[in-house]
Symmetry: C2
Subunit: 112 residues, 2 copies
DNA sequence: CGGGATGCGCAACCTTTGATTGCAGATTCG
DNA sequence: CGAATCTGCAATCAAAGGTTGCGCATCCCG
């Protein structure tokens, strides 16, 4: 019942910059710290640190290619993260629905 | 297409302590900084700061009651946050599915 | 009604993290 | 070869999460 979420995965996905990086990587298939930074309002070094975080969380993999380093999304791991988002959302949603049911029941009983 | 997420709402929900606070508030209906801190591994003051964040994001409301201050979840706003979680998840999910379809198509064409 | 217990809010301080600038090493390309 | 480009490392900074230490209001009970 305690929503059993992997906090590392969640916090990797919790940062807005990292979410946009994942969006970009998914859209283009791959990218480097430099190319990503061209589409985001932060410096290449900040991007590099975020890539390190995503790498540690297993959400991206990287391969050196000459003088640059290419990153790509690990689809299976991102799917896991998506599933966790859905889990937390579903848990809250269920509680909200239950609350609504109870509120309606009270209203009905008061209408008697 | 840019996942149009309210970053304030998301970042309010992005913190693990705040997520657990919302869980507790949903479970009990209401609570104070002190009661919440009894179920969490942080001090009352830390909880109070988180409550201020959640309040600014509109996810909770508070009413003074004697010497204590009761907080409760704003269900409509939490529902909005849940919807945003679902949106981001769905967007990534769709991209992952598309990638998978393409990969399968390539495999099929190579099998010719 | 007075005093201890309980709850809250404010302030100072510490640590972590997202972000910056600066620089040196490696690789590509004209 | 030499200039351009990409990377990685280090120092520095500001914001955020967390803590301790008060002072003040409210409740409760003898």
């Amino acid at each position: 019942m305690s929503t059993a979420v992997d906090d590392d995965l969640w916090s990797a996905v919790g940062d807005p910059t990292r979410r946009r990086m994942l969006d970009l990587l998914l859209a283009d298939g791959r990218g480097t710290a430099t190319t990503l930074s061209r589409h985001l309002p932060v410096t290449r070094q900040a991007i590099a640190k975020h890539l390190a975080v995503l790498d540690r969380a297993g959400l991206v993999r990287s391969t050196p290619a000459g003088r640059e380093r290419l990153y790509e999304v690990d689809e299976a791991q991102l799917a896991r993260a998506v599933a966790q988002l859905a889990d937390v959302g579903a848990a809250w949603d269920a509680r909200l629905r239950r609350i609504k049911r109870i509120a309606e029941a009270i209203q009905r009983s008061q209408a008697d």
